[in-house]
């Protein structure tokens, strides 16, 4: 009888341990989830994947972006922020080689975070194969909307030289 009680107790303890450990092993932390958005942004850009890129942004009139070049000088709002990426499939894969540098995720709230980063971009002209390299810095604001982290604002600017 004593052995049975002991085995029963051990079984209960194992069960509690399994319940405690199992979700933690599967669930990513908020930082990891936010970082995944950024990794996917770079993946979409580098593989010219418009569908993946479009899925990362909040499809709302409140979505906003300051771009790094002249075309993105003034605040772009709403759907055009997303459709602006439609140029991607027109270029061959390899045209844009973006490299994510020093990403820093700051969780501000259960559902709000910012990411600061640098992007070293090598552009290869599809015709001439001439390459240009540009270094930019970025601030991304992401929000967890309906259980999914989405980009709600981007401010990208070239590294100042003077």
């Amino acid at each position: 009888m004593r052995t049975r009680t002991f085995v029963g107790l051990l079984s209960c303890m194992c069960l509690v341990l399994c319940i405690y450990v199992a979700p933690a092993a599967n669930a990513a932390s908020a930082e990891e989830e936010v970082m995944q958005v950024m990794n996917n942004w770079f993946k979409a850009f580098n593989t010219n994947d418009y569908q993946l890129m479009a899925s990362l942004w909040w499809n709302s009139p409140k979505l906003t972006k300051f771009g790094p070049d002249k075309a993105g000088t003034f605040l772009l709002q709403g759907e055009p922020v997303i459709t602006d990426w439609k140029f991607l499939p027109a270029d061959p894969v390899g045209t844009y080689a973006n490299s994510l540098r020093h990403p820093l995720v700051t969780i501000l709230d259960d559902n709000v975070a910012i990411i600061t980063l640098y992007n070293s971009q090598t552009y290869t002209d599809p015709k001439t194969k001439a390459q240009t390299v540009a270094l930019a810095r970025g601030t991304f604001v992401v929000q967890k909307i309906n259980g999914k982290w989405l980009i709600v604002h981007e401010h990208a600017s070239k590294l100042p030289t003077e």
């Binding site: 790094p68 605040l75 401010h155």
Partner: protein, 159 residues
């Protein structure tokens, strides 16, 4: 007796109406409070007021700035930079923010996007110089006060 009842009821309704209306007349909306923070930033620059400028930032502030010296992320508020800037007399720098848009992100978190014109009037030289900037500010209400916690300011791209 009936008149007194009606009168009493009317007084009660008027009282409830007053309670309902008065606070909203005085309390600023979150958007108004945040725009006031941006106004205070301009005011601090225009009056070379270091204490006012220092009071606008969270200790956790981080920023990307427009000049080369602020190209990389600065963690913490750069008091020394402002001290150096405010050694010049009030009126040397003029900041004017415009087209500011506030987006509330959470109960105590918001984002402000907008533009500002910074004009420099060097005391020894007669010619002024201006720079048009665009900015994204993340602000947080800490201890009942809205403070800047992140800023990304950049010059308007030319190419």
């Amino acid at each position: 007796m009936r008149t007194k009842n009606i009168l009493g009821l009317l007084v009660c309704i008027a009282l409830v109406f007053c309670f309902y209306v008065t606070p909203s007349a005085n309390a600023a909306s979150a958007e108004d409070e945040i725009l006031q923070l941006v106004d205070n930033f301009d005011k601090a620059i225009n009056t070379a007021n270091y204490e006012l400028m220092a009071s606008l930032y969270s200790p956790k502030y981080s920023s990307f700035g427009p000049p080369k010296s602020l190209a990389y992320l600065i963690k913490g508020w750069d008091g020394e930079m402002w001290k150096k800037m405010f050694k010049h007399p009030a009126g040397t720098y003029n900041s004017s923010s415009h087209n500011n848009e506030v987006t509330i992100l959470a109960e105590n978190l918001a984002m402000v996007t907008g533009y500002s014109t910074i004009t420099f009037y060097p005391p020894a030289v007669k010619e002024e110089s201006s720079e048009l900037l665009r900015s994204t500010s993340i602000v947080q209400k800490i201890g009942g006060k809205w403070l800047f916690i992140h800023g990304h300011t950049s010059i308007l791209p030319t190419e």
